[in-house]
Symmetry: C2
Subunit: 369 residues, 2 copies
């Protein structure tokens, strides 16, 4: 048997865990990492945050779309995004895997390498986790963070008069999803999906398996950005840190889609009014959306999994920032205002109309048509 | 449709989460709980522990063996046990579920009630979590704890001359597993398991579904204890706290089985010598083991999932405790000593013989014959 085709079941749990320890960074001084009953590390007095998110094969990712490294990256990134949206600094992660016995060991190692690369970059220590056998590959990351730059920023604390900003260009991830779903100009089936076999990027030889992905990236201008944003999103940690100086009143990350996530900021005795003319639509984004037959504005509003941030700033600091700014290298666009009328409203310079949360279809990576 | 037969897919994610909030305790003052991007709570300066464990339907539990409340209890208890084995006090938990859409909502609520009952008893706050859709019911609990009673107790710090103790009666859980596996005197199939249909305790009406379990509990003297220890184990938190006064040098919980877990204490430049005559074998345990055709001593050594503790104490405090003691209501039995010879050794008053880790079959709840 070639080493590369060895499965988890071939290797056995004990030897698999030994191999994993070589992939995961050894614990820093003062930290008890993998190998004891629990991880132990020091914290300073103050608040900590704890968050968790799960990715399930077939629900949140598909093995013919995502390379193992990308799943490792994304499973950590979605948790980093939750930490960023609280104004926190992520520090320690636990990784719990459910793995089918027939999973190739090299794919799991590639998964961990993708996660490790991101963890090193954002200085998060992977201090422990768990490996369980089960029929469906699933990843749960739990993340602990602290608040070195200021108090936690909750989603409920916006006040009427605050200005609403969004980072970057929401909607890219949706275009990446569309590209993968349509494939390479193959004849779609009656459900709108290609029926042609696509390679399992977790099993097949790297060179063969990524060829179609490379081709897809070259298929349209902007395709590379869209694919990257869907397959390996970046959490907006740096801009969240930079925003502390502007005393944000509320913050939330855009995981369900801009339209739906605005409702989180509108909870309580207040509402949000957005100006549709201000929704960021970059030239490259518009070009790709139109090439894919999508309405750019609708895509920006309803597309999810971008992991951009929605933030409210008090009027004084909002004016200081300006309505189109760049902070820590990330564009920030003012798109609306917090009002006293409950709900989420939109206008184009005319009378605001009320939005219904069901007006934005929930974007589930693998379910949308 | 009767409310009790409603599934997760019928109810939809948003309404399901609303219902869950009624089942989970509201956050205490000063804590941000379920509903924001992450949970936030205060900690004192010092060390914290973080641990996680996963239970997968079909691997770690079966729905015709475990009631939903028991799975909720056990998913938390196995994490509490890891905290106890570090000498830590558990404080905050996150609960991540993977749920099939056809899962009845009332079963998930019962799952949470079982977990909540235990969480309240040990004063752990469930501060957040995640619900994801997927084909196989899986539960990952992550637990944060602190060290209010002393320093962390690692598994690697035993020294030659220390005395080795075990809490309670290891092996009970294995007998509970045996009882469930054999069922009620039904004719076993060629694999040794009953082929007769047993009820899915997550779907059927409570009264019908638990009847066979009640009958099973009555089938042998000691059956109730054995079933409880397998289905709803208790973490040894109180005795772990009490042990701090005896300055434990190393501690580990017995999840894989006494024989296998002794190897964790023997890691490094030392070994463990156990006296087989001292392995605790209570009268009730022996009676049930023999009724089930099992060797009591072998069951105590190889049975897993008991969540007892193995602890090493320095000679001074070991003598103060005595070789058969009761601490915080839990029996503690001295079973051996830490030696300078690497490995795990056993004797019956004669020359010690070396044990091999493979000499103890790993006990996987649902795999053992």
């Amino acid at each position: 048997m070639k080493p590369s085709s060895r499965t988890l079941a071939d290797l056995g749990e004990a030897r698999f865990l030994q191999r994993l320890r070589r992939v995961i960074d050894p614990p820093r001084a003062g930290i008890v990492g993998i190998g004891d009953d629990a991880a132990v590390f020091p914290v300073s007095k103050g608040s900590v945050l704890l968050t968790t998110d799960t990715m399930v094969d077939g629900t949140h990712f598909l093995r013919h779309w995502f390379r193992p490294e990308e799943v490792g990256h994304k499973a950590l990134a979605v948790n980093l995004s939750d930490a960023a949206a609280m104004g926190g600094g992520p520090q320690f992660a636990l990784v719990s895997l459910i793995l089918p016995g027939e999973m190739p060991v090299h794919a799991i190692e590639r998964f961990y390498r993708g996660m490790r690369r991101l963890a090193r970059r954002v200085e998060v220590a992977i201090v422990g986790g768990n490996v369980a056998e089960g029929p469906v590959l699933s990843i749960t990351v739990s993340l602990l963070g602290t608040f070195p730059h200021g108090d936690p920023v909750l989603r409920s604390r916006a006040s009427p008069g605050d200005h609403v900003f969004v980072t970057g260009q929401p909607g890219w991830a949706r275009l990446g999803h569309r590209l993968l779903d349509r494939g390479l100009g193959r004849r779609p089936s009656s459900t709108g999906r290609s029926r042609l076999r696509r390679p399992d990027l977790w099993r097949e030889r790297r060179s063969t398996a990524v060829a179609w992905r490379r081709e897809l990236a070259r298929s349209s201008p902007g395709a590379t950005s869209a694919l990257r944003r869907f397959l390996a999103p970046e959490a907006r940690l740096a801009v969240a840190r930079g925003l502390h100086l502007y005393r944000p009143t509320a913050m939330v990350d855009v995981s369900d889609g801009l339209g739906r996530d605005l409702f989180h900021l509108a909870e309580g005795e207040k509402g949000i009014v957005i100006d549709r003319n201000r929704i960021p639509l970059s030239a490259g984004f518009k070009r790709l959306a139109e090439a894919l037959g999508e309405d750019p504005e609708e895509t920006a509003l309803s597309g999810g999994e971008d992991y951009e941030l929605l933030v409210t700033l008090p009027p004084e600091t909002a004016e200081r920032l300006g309505s189109r700014a760049v902070l820590s290298g990330t564009p920030l666009t003012e798109i609306g205002i917090v009002s006293t009328d409950r709900g989420v409203w939109h206008h184009r310079g005319d009378t605001p109309r009320r939005l219904s949360p069901s007006g934005f279809q929930h974007f589930r990576s693998l379910r949308s048509p």
